[in-house]
Symmetry: D2
């Protein structure tokens, strides 16, 4: 066992990161030390990299970011019983307190005191990461490492899609970043009968087609509302999954959801959104859900079962594979809007 490891570090309160050789994390009696095999990049990591307003408020450098990954158990604390060295694992990086009201009624995904590994403490953009046993997720070796590294955002998609009935229903996805693209695949796999994808970026629309959305619409040129009402016999979409966080995407979401339909919101917004409550919500009798994280651990069971059964083809979403040493290049690719999900390999792309 080496003493140090390569890590991507946000060293201080400013834009950018550094590649550093740092000490391998120590771990306690109920912790698991994981050797990272593949990590993947989230939009949050770009916020941290760019050191935007949100990052300035939330992040306390120095920090190793990274909260999407899979790897192999390297060592375990002495009280750990559910995994052993060599096991293939990922982890839920939201560490819930276990003691607040929400945790005690089975809603740990909205814990009042949650701390996120890779945001509030050192994460997975490194050769090793420390995870409490409670948050470790053991993975069937039949699941490819590339998929195992994106369970965090895939879990967002599964949580959103399955937050209400979906089989035999029509679904619109507004915003086709990685989670929106995953949601297309998940919705199809669980019996959505038509999936409409709405996205302005042409690279993402291409990917939505590859994910086999039934209808891919460009709000800049298509009459999205008319097209979706046409395709649904004038009813509208039964379920709308808002994944853009953009005022236009949200406007579309309210426009296309049918009377009595479900609108699940995942995309984070940066500005206030204005609504006509009477027309947009009350007369239509719709239900709106705020979706956060993944259910612990029902979503994890669902998504790994879906992956293992071969029902999800996620390959189109993975656009880039880089060595972790090329982290800056990954950030660049993300900024262009051309990349979707970027995978990072600590010891070079395999």
């Amino acid at each position: 066992m080496p003493k140090t490891m390569l890590a991507v570090v946000k060293p201080e309160a400013k834009p950018g990161v550094e590649l550093r050789d740092v000490a391998i994390p120590s771990f306690g009696s109920s912790d698991v030390l994981v050797r990272v095999k593949v990590a993947s990049v989230c939009g949050t990591d770009l916020h941290i990299y760019n050191w935007d307003a949100w990052a300035q408020r939330r992040i306390r450098p120095p920090l190793i970011p990274g909260h999407e990954f899979c790897g192999e158990v390297a060592e375990v604390g002495r009280e750990v019983t559910t995994v052993k060295p060599g096991d293939f694992v990922s982890a839920e990086m939201h560490v819930a307190c276990g003691k607040c009201f929400q945790c005690r009624i089975g809603e740990a995904h909205i814990c009042q005191n949650v701390r996120i590994i890779g945001v509030d403490s050192d994460g997975a953009f490194a050769e090793y990461v420390r995870i409490p046993e409670s948050n470790i997720w053991k993975i069937d070796p039949a699941i490819p490492a590339e998929y195992a590294s994106v369970l965090d955002p895939l879990g967002n998609a599964v949580h959103t899609v399955l937050a209400g009935p979906i089989a035999g229903r029509t679904v619109a996805v507004t915003g086709c970043g990685p989670i929106g693209l995953f949601a297309i695949a998940v919705a199809r796999a669980v019996g959505a009968t038509q999936v409409f994808a709405v996205e302005v970026n042409q690279h993402r629309r291409k990917l939505a087609e590859k994910m086999r959305a039934d209808l891919v619409l460009n709000p800049a040129t298509d009459d999205v509302k008319a097209r979706i009402f046409d395709a649904t016999d004038g009813v509208g979409a039964d379920v709308v999954l808002e994944m853009s966080g953009h005022p236009d995407g949200i406007r579309t979401a309210f426009d296309v959801v049918r009377r009595g339909g479900r609108l699940s919101l995942l995309g984070l917004t940066s500005k206030p959104i204005s609504l006509n409550f009477s027309e947009d919500i009350i007369f239509k009798g719709i239900t709106i859900q705020g979706i956060n994280g993944r259910r612990m651990y029902e979503t994890w069971y669902q998504m790994t079962a879906l992956l293992k059964s071969g029902k999800l083809d996620l390959h189109p979403v993975i656009t880039d594979r880089l060595s972790m040493r090329d982290f800056d290049k990954g950030m660049e690719r993300l900024q262009t809007g051309e990349a979707s999900k970027i995978l990072l390999y600590p010891n070079g792309v395999k």
Copy 2:
């Protein structure tokens, strides 16, 4: 059987109404003619009276308004089988088409083609009103006529309260007009463990106290959020029922609902509302419901069973009893904000 009857008529497209002697409605083979015993006044009737923007768009005079009432069956069409002359009845005044998608999946309360008696056709501010048999609701004579005349708004309250789990939970009601006041009584009757009422108008706050809300708050002088978080061990209200339609009430609703809580919207808004989706909805993982009308006819069974079991004391809400001939006076009382629910008697107050 007389040929004509007294009716409150909106004769043409302008403010005000007239008292007139008009023909008793004709009725078809599947219709029921009801002799009105008590009718009650809704905020919608004030909009029609004042001839505001909404009324100008929706109402086609001449019209007899009125959609809350009870009475006695006078005559029935030849195909009617479920009621007979002399039966004590009220009615669901939303006439659903029965053929649209929503109607056929059991969501008739959000029918695409709904027409409202008393809004789109002649209503109950008269001695007689015609109702299709499908919409007649037979009432146990054990239920007092005063209560039977307010089943429409009571049904709104029951539908809202029971739109999700409520037993053992804390409930905040923002806005204490008649439906908000009814909701306090209903929430208490179905096991809400604390009911918080939020209202600026002092007359309404008095009524909220009479309805036995556990905590009645004045947003002009109380720190509503702090008070509700204090009373709930820092958790917030499990369920919030928004009955005001006012931007301040809605703001309060989002502020006091707990992480993972339910926010049911009934109060109609007249202006756009601005929200921070990330903070107000997504991170908190709340569910928002638009509530319209009453479920046909599940809500009707629920509310009449609750009334019959004696679990609801609605008397404080009924503040005024007038002869139908004093309709103008009723409108005046409503404008002052001092009256809550006003009952009208076609043949003088009994």
Copy 3:
């Protein structure tokens, strides 16, 4: 328009049927007369044919049986608005009263006063059948007639599968008659991650394999419980769909459902079943559902959307295509246990 038609008739209270030339049904102002294109045979029809104890209690000859079919609208009553001659249709043959408690709360599929066309009045084993407009189901011409003729049993399967969460879950189907086979296809289409089929009849096991069940078990030779627990990491099946009605199938159903799982019962039993409530139900905390008919009309929307989207391959279930004149031969095939779903063509197989 001819005056008479070919029909399969149960002429009197004894086994067998006769082929007869009978008058084309008259129809009322809200009825639809349909020219049958394809009808299909249900186990119930065999009970009527054999004149068993159930049939003797329920059936009042003379009767034209048949409650699974599709066809073309021939004529419509003068009040009919939703279909016109030439439309491609099927029908819900359970005619609900619309006035009982269950009907009025949206549970018409368990109406207290239901009457079944083809059981309580003349059905679809004829060239023409009369259907009330309320029960007509218009079909997208994109759906093949063979599938359109089996919407009744497919609806049973869809209703059963979707009576609770299914995506990301494991499902066991005990009993692989036509509805069990359909249920395999539906479960796969809506995200079940493993489908276990349990069946003693080898013909049916072959069909279960063709329907792509993940594991097809023979209770005569396989240790069904052990195999299913093995395949589910010792947890058991999340969902069990009991489609056999046989004591052994039911015993297996209780044995393999996981703690907290769902057991949906559709297969009708002819003898009492004995259970250890403490061990079989209470300690395991399971939920058992009695499933009857199809939800009106939510199930119909779901299944036609699933069919139209191409998610269901039902072909293996359709084993026989016969002229309606060969009805006796169809009954024979059914008795052997070799046939699954048998289609009948009024004017010869096309």
Copy 4:
């Protein structure tokens, strides 16, 4: 702090118990040592006392039984953060493993590896009892100690009543032991509009009346089914809570539940029960639930909120108050069928 304590001990594999002076339990870093204030007796304790077949299979003497109690925190392990000495507490005595599938999806009340304090390890019929912090439930001092000592069975009742919709519905309770009696109070408090109690024992029927059941029926002399259908306009009971575990009670439960109703089973059976699945379950389209324990910890929040709000009057159920030294006398009282809930005080009745 003393070294020894009084305890009720099952010393070896035979009927009866002994009062002994034993060592106060040691406790680990995450344990809480509670000084018992009031304990209460469950039917399970009588099984252990009588050393019946179930007890012989499950219990490993020596054992201190007792799993219903409240008390004051005496000492806490060094990692305990949520309670401190002097706090008023009770506890969930089902200790879930936290690692099985059911635990990880929020169904810990049906944990595969549950161990029960007072059954599988030393319990609360003693001056002190050791509880893991995870299972401690802090109680508002406003709740009387008598009620705090019966949270375990009250939780069974709350879990059963709230396992489905109840407001505005009719409820039948078959079997009026302590949990059945509690269920009457809970059902009333959460909006059941009529509660029917069915019980053969006259002492228990008296208590059911004191709990304010709307109709108390004696199956030995009343036509229970006819009376309940009469009282529900021929519909039957919306919800049936089976609390007897007796074949006759279970038969009644199936007879009186309405089409589409809910039947929740809590009463443990000692013999097989025979059912006609077609008539009893499938055609009626009912849902049957096995109910085990209490939801961790949603039920605990619900019941303590209900208690604190003053909505539950449980006094009639508490029929006996004894010194713990009079344990034998308590067992005697229970055998007669005259006692309902018996409270035990370690240091004499207060």
